[in-house]
């Protein structure tokens, strides 16, 4: 039997052919059902790659499956998904496609493990072909080698739990850390076995079948991986500050380990879907969280990019069930979202100086970024800013990380515009009464030097901005990738 086979899909039901192409230890019927339910009809062909050596499965094979009396295969099967324009010549093992780039017609891959149960292994799928996926998500470009082609696929990694040696929390930790290792060169890659080992203080001798994890074990995994994890726990169901923070971190590009205590379940939150226009009549300053229709989750019981509504009972669960999350920080983020959340409301006191709208008309949004990303963003939109503001931003001696607070009215929100932006120092202490680098509207900017401790106005500059009254003042949406359903 050749190592490669091609299945053409007239409809998703044709995925049932997997059962005749893939042997029983990969549980092809269950995999076919999962794909039939979760893939869009844009996927028109599947390339089956047999005898694939998967590093994550091998890590568990060497440390667990090879030690068992039951004989397990060391190799896996990998499925690659393509659109309708790609063809395959099985005699020469050649892929053909129109245009220059094969990756424009490629939707990602899924590894199948020979474990009988929980067989869906490392998967990176394009969110564009996930049925029901909406909004914007955190992604990284994952490298794939197939039949001599080197492709990149934008997505978020996912896998099913092994059930016997890893549970949902391991899978969520693995997804987040694999994303970190691909997205940021400072983090190394951790395999499935590494994650199960990192959760515990000592090695009990071989890989012990998992009896589940506590939240503290997940925290430990992130610590061992060189990140600085912070647990944020919900006070009660009406704790909207908890959700505002959750959303702020996702908007910042940090995938979150979310715990659902009642369901004893853990998932990774990797995106959100925002409403274009504000809903309802405001009675207070609103936050971007009030515009969120659903979160996007990587849940090991589903294909990735599961839509989790903020309310309602139609789905398996809603965001109401999330009652704690872990955000895995890089070093040098000392000022948490909680503090930004509290201080944002106070910005309205500067309305007489900056010409801000009233609190009731304002929608606040905040997220973490870097000083260099801010400069890059402004450089790419030079025409939106007064040159003297641009000059100040280029010169400010930012620490690496900054919090960005953006204010907009309902109309501006609907058009992707804002009316003011504040830049806060993410290395500020909790007791800093002036954690600001800069606050500016269309007409004025307050620039704080942050060079003298205890004296925020020392070295402060006030700029009267010109030419920004009628230009675009674009909301900064750079950290997440919009899903373009196919």
């Amino acid at each position: 039997m050749s190592n490669h086979a091609w299945i053409l899909l007239r409809s998703n039901a044709d995925l049932a052919q997997l059962a005749s192409e893939v042997s029983v230890e990969f549980d092809p019927s269950k995999v076919a059902q999962r794909l039939t339910d979760g893939l869009s009809s844009a996927v028109k062909a599947v390339l089956i790659e047999r005898n694939y050596v998967d590093k994550d499965y091998r890590s568990t094979f060497y440390n667990y499956y090879a030690k068992k009396g039951q004989r397990y295969r060391p190799d896996c099967v990998r499925l690659h998904f393509f659109d309708s324009t790609v063809t395959f010549d099985s005699a020469t093992l050649t892929l053909r496609w129109p245009g220059e780039r094969l990756e424009d017609h490629y939707f990602g891959y899924m590894v199948l493990r020979p474990t009988g149960i929980g067989t869906i292994g490392r998967t990176v799928l394009s969110p564009d072909v996930r049925a029901g996926a909406r909004g914007r998500i955190i992604t990284a470009a994952h490298k794939v080698h197939v039949l001599g082609h080197r492709l990149l696929i934008e997505g978020f990694p996912s896998m099913d739990q092994h059930i016997d040696i890893s549970v949902c929390a391991h899978a969520a930790c693995w997804s987040i850390l694999r994303h970190y290792s691909v997205r940021y060169s400072v983090y190394r890659e951790y395999l499935t076995h590494d994650i199960t080992r990192m959760a515990h203080q000592f090695n009990p001798g071989g890989l012990v079948p998992s009896k589940g994890l506590d939240v503290s074990h997940a925290e430990r995994v992130f610590q061992e991986a060189g990140t600085f994890p912070m647990i944020v726990t919900r006070k009660n169901k009406s704790d909207t500050s908890f959700y505002r923070q959750l959303h702020a971190y996702v908007e910042s590009g940090f995938p979150l380990f979310a715990a659902m205590h009642g369901m004893r379940h853990a998932i990774a939150i990797v995106g959100s879907e925002l409403s274009a226009a504000p809903l309802g009549r405001p009675t207070r300053m609103r936050n971007a969280w009030d515009m969120v229709k659903s979160l996007v989750a990587v849940d090991d019981n589903h294909l990735p990019y599961l839509s989790v509504p903020t309310t309602g009972v139609a789905a398996d669960y809603s965001s109401d069930q999330i009652d704690a999350f872990i955000v895995a920080f890089p070093e040098k983020v000392f000022y948490p979202a909680d503090a930004v959340d509290r201080s944002t409301n106070t910005l309205s006191k500067l309305a007489p100086i900056l010409g801000l709208p009233s609190q009731k008309k304002t929608i606040g949004r905040y997220f973490l970024s870097t000083g260099s990303a801010l400069r890059q963003f402004m450089r790419s939109r030079v025409s939106e800013f007064d040159p003297q503001l641009l000059l100040e931003i280029m010169e400010l001696p930012f620490a690496q990380y900054v919090w960005i607070v953006e204010l907009s009215t309902g109309d501006e929100w609907a058009q992707g515009q804002i009316c003011a932006r504040a830049v806060l120092d993410a290395t500020a202490s909790l007791r800093d009464p002036a954690p600001y680098w800069l606050i500016h509207s269309r007409t004025r900017a307050l620039v704080f030097g942050r060079q003298t401790v205890g004296s925020p106005t020392t070295g402060m500059k006030v700029l009267d901005l010109k030419g920004m009254e009628s230009t675009a003042f674009t909301r900064w949406d750079q950290n997440l990738r919009p899903i373009q359903s196919k």
């Binding site: 994890l213 944020v232 715990a259 853990a266 019981n301 106070t346 500067l350 909790l430 007791r431 006030v462």
Partner: protein, 73 residues
Amino acid sequence: MANTAKRKRKVTVKKMIKKRAAVPSIAGLTQSEATTLQDFFAAMQDQVVPEIVREEEERRVLAAESRRWPLKS
């Protein structure tokens, strides 16, 4: 109890007045705008920072409790 609260309010108001009296002029801002800015920093110092510190302590205690939650499904 009520008298203590009243006294505290009086002290806070006195502090605010003292702070206002010391508003330095800031190039580019009128005196009333400089006062607005000073009020902004006073609100951060007297209201927001204590709220942030209290909130962080509360979250720290909650996080300690949630560390024991089992996750399995």
